[in-house]
Symmetry: D2
Subunit: 362 residues, 4 copies
């Protein structure tokens, strides 16, 4: 058990930050669908580093090579495999990470789990870079969902206490609009303030976290399963694959804890001959199953743990406390780059459920 999502689709992630490559296999894609590789590249570019003033300047092309699964650009029923070559790897000495773990990173836990055999370079398999193959899988699922009129979109809901305008839970409109901007927010004014927050954190050799809100629209009712494979279970499992995520909530989320039933229940109504709900505190999910309203969730993203300030750590070889200074430059805020990854995670979960739905419809 590790880096595999095993449902109607099976998505296998592999690679380390400084291995020859990172990549993904997707087993279970239906045959006969054209994949737009330019659109996929554009989606990956939203996650790629080094493109602006709020992310790390490491420049990786993040250009996937599709090794299999397509014939003449169309899914052929065979597993799709794609790789992204790592470039400029092993350029520095990472051996210190084996002895002095970085706070907030997996260096220590990997050391314990793998007995020192783990690949420490650049965080190895725990690097945020591993979200790129997740985006390949998710980007393909997004395209296949779009064929069915289903849109997946996300935006920065807040950074450092500055909130973006939320999606309207009942009628969010085109939820892919924020993702078409360099800085994916609904309100550019809020976005400008967020960027100031990020710049401030960077200037102080620090980092900052944030919230991401994601919506899926155009969904039919009836997707998902009770108990362990509801939409919440599937999405949460995939979104927590993003290293920095520490919380996931659906619809009204944590605020339900303070509500009464009469305030939280979404009344049913008829709109345009369809069963709808007047409000959407359920986030489009009842009993784990989509109800035809927009599916809405939020993910909490922690501040980048790599900061340039001196930090307290320990030497594992000497079992004594030491001060650690992390070299290099890092994203002062990974939230903007995590937005497409959240979309990718949602798209995989939703497309997986859609495949099952089709089977059951027959």
């Amino acid at each position: 058990m590790s880096s595999i999502y095993h449902g109607h689709l099976t998505v296998t992630i592999f690679g380390q930050s400084h291995a020859p490559a990172i990549g993904v296999t997707i087993d279970g894609l239906p045959a006969g669908h054209a994949i737009d590789l330019d659109a996929l590249q554009a989606f990956l570019d939203r996650r790629a580093p080094g493109q602006n003033d709020w992310s790390t300047p490491r420049k990786e092309a993040d250009s996937p090579e599709i090794l299999s699964g397509l014939a003449d650009g169309v899914t052929c029923g065979a597993p799709l495999a794609a790789v992204i070559r790592n470039t400029n790897t092993r350029s520095k000495d990472y051996s210190n990470l084996r002895d002095v773990p970085r706070p907030g990173h997996a260096d220590f836990t990997a050391q314990v789990k793998y007995g020192g055999a783990q690949d420490v370079a650049g965080g190895g398999h725990f690097s945020g870079r591993l979200t790129a193959p997740l985006c390949i899988a998710g980007g393909i699922c997004k395209q296949l969902l779009a064929e069915e009129g289903i849109a997946v979109g996300a935006h920065i809901a807040s950074i450092g206490g500055i909130a973006d305008a939320p999606f309207d839970p009942v009628d969010p409109g085109d939820v892919t609009l924020p993702g078409q901007k360099p800085f994916p927010v609904q309100s550019d004014r809020a976005g400008a303030r967020m960027r100031e927050i990020i710049a401030g954190a960077r200037a102080e050799l620090d980092s900052v976290g944030g919230l991401i809100e994601c919506a899926v629209t155009g969904l039919p009712a009836g997707l998902g399963d009770p108990m362990l494979d509801g939409m919440e279970n599937r999405i949460a499992r995939l979104v927590f694959a993003i290293p920095a995520v520490k919380g996931v909530e659906f619809g009204a989320g944590f605020t339900v804890a303070g509500l009464r039933g009469s305030e939280n229940n979404d009344p049913f109504c008829i709109r345009d001959g369809q069963v709808r709900t007047r409000t959407n505190r359920a986030g489009g999910i009842l009993g784990g199953i989509t109800n035809g309203m927009p599916l809405l969730f939020r993910a909490a993203v922690k501040p980048t743990p790599s900061i340039a300030r001196p930090q307290e750590s320990v030497s594992l070889s000497r079992m004594e406390e030491v001060t650690l200074e992390i070299q290099g430059r890092h994203d002062p805020c990974i939230v903007p780059r995590a937005v497409p990854v959240v979309e990718a995670a949602a798209a995989i979960a939703v497309y997986d459920a859609l495949l099952e739905h089709r089977r059951d419809e027959k």
Copy 2:
């Protein structure tokens, strides 16, 4: 895909609220461990209804019969199966639920998904009653974890805005203490106020939600896997099996969105010759893997959707809006009864990871 957790342990939940029985199978339990059935019953009693003034008066013994998997009270390596008989079932006419779905329930989504063939009586497979078999599995895992010195405990973190004293993230002490009380809180004073809130909601024919905090102590470092099978992924997937949960967060959770890296990173230190962290905003998990600190998470529980007040719904047969009044009495707050279920979900996830850990240690 549905009501199955498939890892080193495979837990299969079955049953409907008014079927002959509900139950669970657990495949993968190691052989040779005595199961204390009295302790298991005591654990199930914490979830059982009808025992006090804050829960539904439906009285079910919730006494599991172990059908297989034990020989002379000891796990024998074969799959363990247990059932709880439903009593006094089908006592009323539920057919109206097929036409007029209850807001906040799965009636509508089940109708769409199963084309009207779903078992509507008492919510069928979507009933909160299905958390009883989850508690059988979790209660057994709790016992097996206790053999290793690992404790799983939870308490009501808040109800209706009234907060209990949180677990100390670094040194929470005996986290099973709240669960030994009829009303599982740390501060009985806060508990008394929560019960007033519940009584108030009941008097107003309404319901109220809340938060549950869970901790796992005594864990070795090194449990869990990167990406899709980290402790967050496993626990979230299981906790979202509880019908009313709408959010899950680990450690500092959603508050990380407002923190800086220098505030959020937990500094490493040496305590009693062990690597520890001074703070525990990570909730004991780094890179999906336990770091030896207490594992901490919270779940948001929505207010019981069944309320006696008139609600807006629709007639699916006539496709018109109608007013629904739900008969019968229901828990005005399910949070107290959900506390052991959250423990059960955590125990399954942690024990599953522990089994894998043992394999890897060799």
Copy 3:
């Protein structure tokens, strides 16, 4: 990993020969299908012991109780669970099996695997009795396949060197006919001779093995997947769940080893406007996928290991060689009773593939 088939359907087998019950859960059945419980009982009766002169006189009703998954006799989308109570259990002392393992049984390997904690009574989870829940699952799948015009039938292909008339590979007719007889053969004359062979073995306190041939007709082309989930992989995995099976072959099977390509390839032809093959040495499977011809396979069943003759064994406690005499009466030949179990295994595999096929057709 153990007693679970995990595909589009998940079938979980549980129970021990002398536990309170044996049973099965089936997750993933589509909703809305009526299950004929009388027909299911009739199918289980074909496997049940004690009904004639060639099987063990242990009399078990083998009447399943459906605990969940049905509402008004119709699949409701929730997992189906069924149990068969064990009666007259623990009537003798089985403790000697823990020390002196029976040749040909799992007593020794279970002792090693479970460290002595295994349930030895009647073979525990390794008992042939555990094929009864497999037949519950398979019997239900057979009914659901029959709705689609797909028939699953098997017969005794040989016992003790006496061969039945094989199914015609290209046009086997109604393959369920043999299963409607008390002794499931095509040629009753051959059957009579087989029964003499069985009677002879019984008289000599011995047992005898045999072959079972199974066919599935009415299949559409296109079921199954390449490599690990082809029809051969799925069926073999399920058929080897029958404790006595030691070999599985498809179509021409082991004879292909002596054929030339020009002899073995099935020429394509057009029949009634359909693509067919003139011969069917492939057993209806090409590349793991059904080709629309009858699916054909055979399973080799070993002679019942429980024989009344003295046998050489060892005392595990004293680590010395001893002579073992097994008490009680046992089937001198389990092949007749294994015929419906082979059908059940095939039906599960085929229905699982059919569910996937439906998804892909959309």
Copy 4:
């Protein structure tokens, strides 16, 4: 479900014969084991084509590139991914295969399953070439098993009716010896006659099938699980992943059908202070679990379906019968090259069970 083995190890196969690459991912390998890439290459060379007079002259280096999962040549706990580039692909026009399927191949069934979107070039994902990534996974497992003193070896048991000397079931000696020869047999004399048979088939534009026998020695007792995950189930599932295999049998296999219990049961005895069996008709497996004796099985391999003789087929577009002549040269017998693939399949299954065994030993 498709090209994935999902157990303690998850092995994912991808690629098409003429896609950019074929490859494999292996998730679940324990960290800290050095992989000998030269030995792996030598193992792959046993399967590679074009090296002698009995195989196809297509020359592919079959040199895997390890993309991830190793750090400094040692398993690092992250999923291992490896690819083999396809060279000289798309060199001819395969479009005719879409219309006129080759007898004995998956052309027709893939056409139906994938609706014409399948990759037809060189058989696509159904090509025997896909056994190369299976050999990467199996070759690595073989090395890891060898660390534990477990040897996996196979030989040609027969071709065209000429039988090799079988492994001694009780004491087969070094079972890896045949694999060290260019033509993997025990008796070179038998091997010489087999090569004449192959040459004869080639001269007559035909092909020939055969049997492969495989043994695993040095196994501890206690590996495997009851029912669905016994060693027979696991091995059969993996061996049937080899496109040409039509039958699998363990120990005495199909001959058990003609034996009596007194002939087939293996008497237990004590040898060198260990529990053993005097004979080994069980093939080292009782109740699905290894008993400490050599594990033995045989696989039936059909003659290469690609033969140069004219064959009867159909035009799918015109729905009429046509004569097909397959161009190019093909292996007149794939049995020699399939020998390491059978070893690979066995090694994956056995290592998977060994990982589970370790967990349970604790």
